[in-house]
């Protein structure tokens, strides 16, 4: 395995793994805050119990998130030392701020997780506020570093080196606002739907308790409130791409030829050789309308870029469609649920409806991972857009393939251990939980 490919594969696997736990780390604190707040406000003990029951498995997930995040911070140096030598002075600032946010998050998580017997109920609730804020801030800062790679700012090149360095301008790179908003909202949607799915499954399996109904309603509500906002931030992102990251948009939409009145292509398998998209569904003029608010506007295609500077639409377009498709799937399931709930004025006990929520539940996470793949594959071959190619940033140290397989084994072992720990819980614990559901 070629060194650069091994470095890319390892970074990709590491990020793909970490994103799941980081997402839960952003989304779950909000749920804890809402549940503890509801418990204090309404005096309904059930919500407090709910939050305390979440926090135990969540503690394990947070720990995996912390250690897999450490892998990433090391990999920046182990795999991409030349990229970091160039970018460190520029994107160090968001990581530095993220460091403090993560510190705060870890502290208040520990207080909430372990503090039940040592802190008052009010203090426990108050701990969830800095926890939620710090978690969201972590996400927003880390995303700034990614945004800078997409739309680098705050420097100019002089003899191959960055000069005129302005870390604040690098922090606030053009792509940051929409990426930060879209990414953070996506974490809330992904967590909300994933948790709702767990309760839909419990209800389908016959655990028809008030606890499960309340928990499903609460988690799905958080997911559903964030979902339409995702539509707006996604549209914001797409119009931004149309102006500032044209190659990425063209690859995402499998749009080969620059032209006016561009159609939107749904599905299909883009073929760079023939510049066509077999099996794709074409909707006339829609891409121009969405990207430029004008059905006859010119949309830049992949042909506007030299062949060695084009992202591969086969890696971008399918994930883009998967992300958008996942959105509509979740929107349908959520709409059905809330419509039925509104009509009947009570929790809808329909099995088909619960099955729909269950089916939709992993798609928040799937959409989030797909969106990340779109933004990363869509920037290829660049690590820092138009300034540094991925291969130029990689380590000269040999043997990265070995490191890749080593960490692949680490991730596999962690995943197996995690699944065994979380899923195979003794029957008496499950029975006890069920008995407590309606206590």
């Amino acid at each position: 395995m070629d060194n650069v490919l091994a470095a890319r594969a390892l970074m990709g696997v590491s990020l793909g793994f970490h994103i799941v736990y980081a997402t839960i780390g952003v989304g779950l604190p909000l749920m804890l805050m809402i549940a503890e707040g509801l418990a204090l406000r309404t005096g309904e003990e059930l919500y407090h119990r709910m939050a305390r029951r979440w926090i135990r498995p969540a503690g394990v997930l947070f720990a995996i998130g912390a250690v897999s995040g450490t892998i990433l911070s090391f990999e920046l140096g182990l795999l991409w030392p030349r990229f970091m030598k160039f970018s460190g002075p520029l994107i160090g600032l968001p990581f530095w701020m993220e460091g403090f946010a993560f510190f705060t998050e870890a502290i208040f998580l520990a207080l909430y997780l372990y503090g039940e017997k040592r802190l008052s109920r009010r203090a426990l609730f108050l701990c969830t506020i800095p926890l939620t804020v710090a978690a969201a801030a972590s996400a927003v800062f880390v995303i700034s570093a990614n945004a800078w790679m997409n739309t680098p700012s705050g420097f100019h090149l002089a003899e191959g080196k960055a000069a005129g360095i302005d870390p604040l301008a690098a922090l606030a790179s053009p792509a940051w606002p929409h990426e930060a908003v879209h990414g953070t909202l996506a974490a809330y949607v992904a967590t909300g739907f994933a948790m709702a799915g767990i309760y839909a499954l419990a209800l389908l399996r016959g655990r028809r308790t008030r606890y499960c109904r309340k928990a499903l309603t609460l988690t799905l509500a958080v997911g559903t409130i964030a979902l339409p906002l995702l539509l707006f931030s996604g549209d914001w992102a797409a119009t931004f791409l149309a102006h500032h990251e044209k190659a990425k948009l063209a690859a995402a939409e499998a749009h080969f030829e620059t032209g006016a009145g561009a159609p939107l292509i749904v599905g299909g398998w883009p073929d760079p050789q023939t510049q066509t998209v077999p099996y794709g569904l074409k909707i006339p003029k829609l891409l121009s309308l969405l990207a430029h608010r004008d059905p006859n506007a010119v949309v830049t295609g992949l042909d506007a870029f030299p062949p060695d500077q084009r992202p591969d639409p086969r890696l971008v377009h399918p994930f883009f469609d998967l992300m958008v498709g996942a959105f509509f799937l979740m929107a349908l399931a959520a709409a059905w649920f809330w419509w039925r709930r509104w009509r009947s004025g009570d929790f809808p006990a329909d099995r088909k409806l619960l099955a729909a929520v269950l089916v939709a539940s992993p798609f928040g996470m799937i959409a989030l991972e797909s969106g990340w793949l779109v933004t990363e594959f869509g920037r290829q071959p660049w690590a820092v857009m138009n300034h540094m190619r991925v291969a130029q940033g990689a380590t000269p140290a040999p043997g990265i393939a070995l490191v890749f397989f080593l960490f692949l084994a680490v991730y596999l072992l962690l995943s197996v251990g995690l699944l065994k720990t979380l899923l195979r819980r003794p029957a008496e614990v499950q029975r006890e939980e069920r008995d407590h559901d309606d206590a």
Binding site: G77, K85, G88, G92, I107, L111, D166
Partner: protein
């Protein structure tokens, strides 16, 4: 410029010290879980397990702190160190992951009355492996075996293994093994406390002897580093390390546990400060100076602007955390007189 980068290097050293003192004690907990002995073996392991729980993730963040300071403020040093020290850093990283995951799995399993096989062993082995690899990596910066030419690393993948860096790994282990029982004396009572007191005193002498032995090893294996030791600032750090170490032994002898904890932390801090003082003004001994590794001035300015803002949030939160979980280690069963 030079002053700013030297100041930033001091912050970096402070991060390393904080990680060693707090994170190191957690690894030491794993080491003493493996080394637990005597009639109260189970109780020793149990109290270590409970003491680590609420704080290890927070303590672990000091490592992230160090890495971030390194790549933001000293990007050239970060790149060179991570290329030259690929192997020990990968080993440490694997250890960090298994230690953290094993602890989390065990903790969750405990709450649910179910444990996975091998998890305890993985926790203990990775608690030994990680500080050793980390100690080697830190020592390698001063070992003289990393060579740069024109800013590029030219030394080989395994050049960092020398008697001096192996000594660094052993001292790293000894630091962890020393701090954990010292801190535990404040969190236990009765015979269990006496167990930890004895172990702390023995580990203190072991750490002192091993650190002292590292000096003749340096003379033989890292002569450039050894030549820098007689500088006044380094000698002052060594003297303070010895003074704090002896004070800690005295406090433990007289059962002044709170003072003993502070003195022990001081001894470890000054061992590392002495290392830093001998390395100064270099980041990689004889190859890359702190000033040459530093990022441009605007980055340093941004770094020092964010620092106080971060500290204002961080310091009170940390104090609150340690106050809440101080005292008897079991978070589910706080002492009667305990109120926050």
């Amino acid at each position: 410029m030079t002053t700013l980068s030297a100041l930033a290097a001091a912050i970096l050293l402070l991060g390393v010290i904080m990680y060693a003192v707090f994170g190191g004690a957690d690894f030491g907990g794993g080491i003493w879980t493996a080394l637990a002995s005597g009639p109260r073996r189970r109780e020793q392991q149990e109290s270590l397990f409970q003491a680590i729980g609420p704080v290890w993730e927070t303590n672990h963040v000091w490592l992230i702190f160090v890495v971030v300071v390194l790549f933001m403020v000293f990007p050239a040093g970060f790149a060179a160190l991570f290329i030259a020290l690929l192997a020990p850093l990968v080993i440490a990283l694997v250890g960090i992951n298994f230690r953290g995951a094993a602890f989390a799995f065990r903790h969750f399993g405990r709450e649910n009355g179910k444990t996975l096989p091998f998890v305890a062993e993985v926790f203990e082995i990775s608690s030994v492996l990680t500080p050793f690899a980390m100690g080697m990596a830190v020592a390698a910066a001063a070992g003289g075996s990393i060579r740069l030419a024109g800013g590029q690393v030219v030394s080989g993948t395994w050049d960092w293994i020398t008697p001096f860096t192996i000594g660094g790994g052993v001292v790293g282990l000894a630091i962890c093994a020393y701090l954990a029982p010292v801190f535990m004396t404040l969190r236990t009572v009765g015979e269990l406390r006496e167990d930890f007191r004895q172990r702390a005193m023995v580990a203190g002498w072991v750490l002192g002897v091993l650190s002292a032995l590292e000096i003749p090893v340096a003379v033989l294996s890292a002569p450039v580093f050894a030549a820098r030791l007689p500088a006044p600032r380094t000698l002052a750090c060594i003297a303070l390390a010895i003074a704090f170490g002896l004070a800690a032994e005295g406090c433990l002898w007289r059962r002044l546990f709170r003072a003993g904890q502070l003195a022990a932390a001081g001894a470890v801090a000054f061992i590392l400060a002495g290392f830093g003082a001998a390395l100064y003004p270099d980041l990689i001994l004889g190859q890359l100076s702190i000033a040459a590794a530093a990022a441009p001035r605007p980055t340093l300015t941004a770094f020092f602007t964010v620092l106080p803002c971060g500290v204002v949030i961080l310091a009170p939160s940390l104090v609150f955390l340690y106050r809440t979980f101080g005292g008897a280690p079991n978070p589910e069963n706080p002492p009667d007189d305990f109120r926050v």
